[in-house]
């Protein structure tokens, strides 16, 4: 059963970061709805989690003004993962990719 998590983003570019997040969260089987910002530096996202998630209810994240919006969004994704809202996938090669790389490395002389 899906849970609903309210994510409050505070800081510069909150709106832009929220927009990026909403797109990224689709990859984690979440649905995110942007709520009307209460101020220029604050934005709320209501996230319907994937069915298997065991999440906290509400989260508030202070954004770093020096981060690019994409990087800021990635930091929020890490926080969401730490709080059980999403699960980060393992970054493994497929068997075909692994064989491709193995042959490339062999061809280049690094391995046999």
């Amino acid at each position: 059963m899906r849970q609903t998590v309210c994510l409050q983003l505070k800081g510069a570019n909150a709106g832009e970061v929220a927009g990026i997040l909403a797109c990224r969260l689709v990859e984690f089987q979440c649905r995110a709805k942007l709520e009307r910002p209460s101020s220029a530096a604050e934005c709320n996202l209501r996230i319907a989690t994937a069915p298997a998630a065991q999440a906290a209810e509400n989260l508030a994240v202070e954004l770093d003004a020096h981060d690019t919006p994409d990087f800021a969004a990635e930091k929020v994704i890490d926080i969401l993962a730490e709080n059980g809202v999403i699960s980060l996938p393992a970054a493994d090669y497929t068997p075909e990719e692994e064989e491709k790389i193995r042959r490339r490395l062999q061809d280049l002389g690094y391995i046999e």
């Binding site: 981060d67 994409d70 990087f71 061809d107 280049l108 690094y110 391995i111 046999e112």
Partner: protein, 478 residues
Amino acid sequence: MAGPRALRGQRVLVIGLDCAAPRFVFGPDPFRLPNIRRLAERGCWGRLRSCDPPITAPAWACMMSGKDPGTLGCYGFRNRTDYSYAGMAIANAAAIREKRVWDIVSRVGKKVVVLGVPQTYPVAPVNGWLVADFLAPDTHAEFTYPRGLRDELQKAVGEYILDVEDFRTDDKPALLERIYALMHNRFDAALYLMKSKPWDFFMMVEMGVDRLHHGFWKYCDPEHPKFEPNNPFVDAFRGYYEALDVRIGELLELAGDETAVLVVSDHGAKAMQGGLCLNQWLINEGFLTLKERGNCGNCGAGVSDAHLPPALDASQVDWSKTKAWGAGGYYGRVFINVAGREPEGIVRLAEYESFREELAGRIRAIPGPMGYPLGNVVLKPQDVYREVRGIPPDLMVYFGDLDWRAVGSIGHRSIFTYENDTGPDDANHDYDGIFIMDDGTGRRGRQLHKLRIVDVAPTLLALMGIEPPSDMQGRPIC
């Protein structure tokens, strides 16, 4: 007259040239490289001792983390994942758990651009832009961060080239063309990113120098055993390095005088004399036993390309009678079959150290083909690293002090081979790469000594006004 301007806390540009050799840059008979030379004359320079092993992976990761391979748990491009006989994994970015310079710089809010640095695929988020290395399967994979950078680069510079294709070809003119194409593609991408993105830290690694050395050393070095005078590629090295210097000049002009600049390489290179067949030696000495004999061991004199000995496969080995086996590459790795550790181990734990010592001594003593000492170097990971994580080889071997490659295949009549199992390869790696730094403090061409690869990361952080983490093993180069 104003004194030298300190650039601490300013932008930093790192130009990495994989495998760039000191002899071609510093001399005694250097190539004509005016842009690199100007940097060295204004700043400081020296030979940069690589890690053990001096291989692209983990050398760049050591350089950028300030930590040795033992701390990284990475001893080459493939590492054991467990103590089974075949469990190996490719050491891509996921294998590097320690923070590298761009991670640290990102976290303090500065912007980074990272381009083609080995072991950056799969991509991890940075505060900026990252284009991964040749460990990406292809350009359909997600090899950039952010994702959209892939299409942006394509529009700006055309198809991105991850690495040289068909490296083992005998068509050398075509290979050289592809190496040049790789270099130009990389620098075109670098110039585009440098112009279009705001950055505080910019690092690129150019792999073409390494590919050039391995593919063409015998044509360019009169002391290579296979050198033939008046061959059509005798100036291949000179031409490439000089073309590289021109492209570096473009980057320097764009970066401007306010930017601290480093030109570095992860290791050097030297002529390869041949290959020493490690597993064949282990078989001959009784340390490794196969289930069946007669697999090419009794072929005619020499081994032709049409009938290459087979690579050693775990299923061929009689583990109940095997004490050690090896893996080849630019350096050799020896693994001991330990009882209670490996599935069918026979070396008792109580005898492990004495056996390892005995084996190390026997390997060190292997003479060359004419019977003279080869000068083999044998290292125990526990002796060379601050700590040992992951599963290292039990012994690391540099045959002939890296004059000879380690060959893992079996069925050779001689333990010395002059043909590579996978195709032509003229060069091995060497211990020292290059280090050049112009940080605007007026060092006036000072030569530095005893530089270590782990010193680079703390140096970069210090240049940017960031305190290096206390667990970095190197010290800022001053």
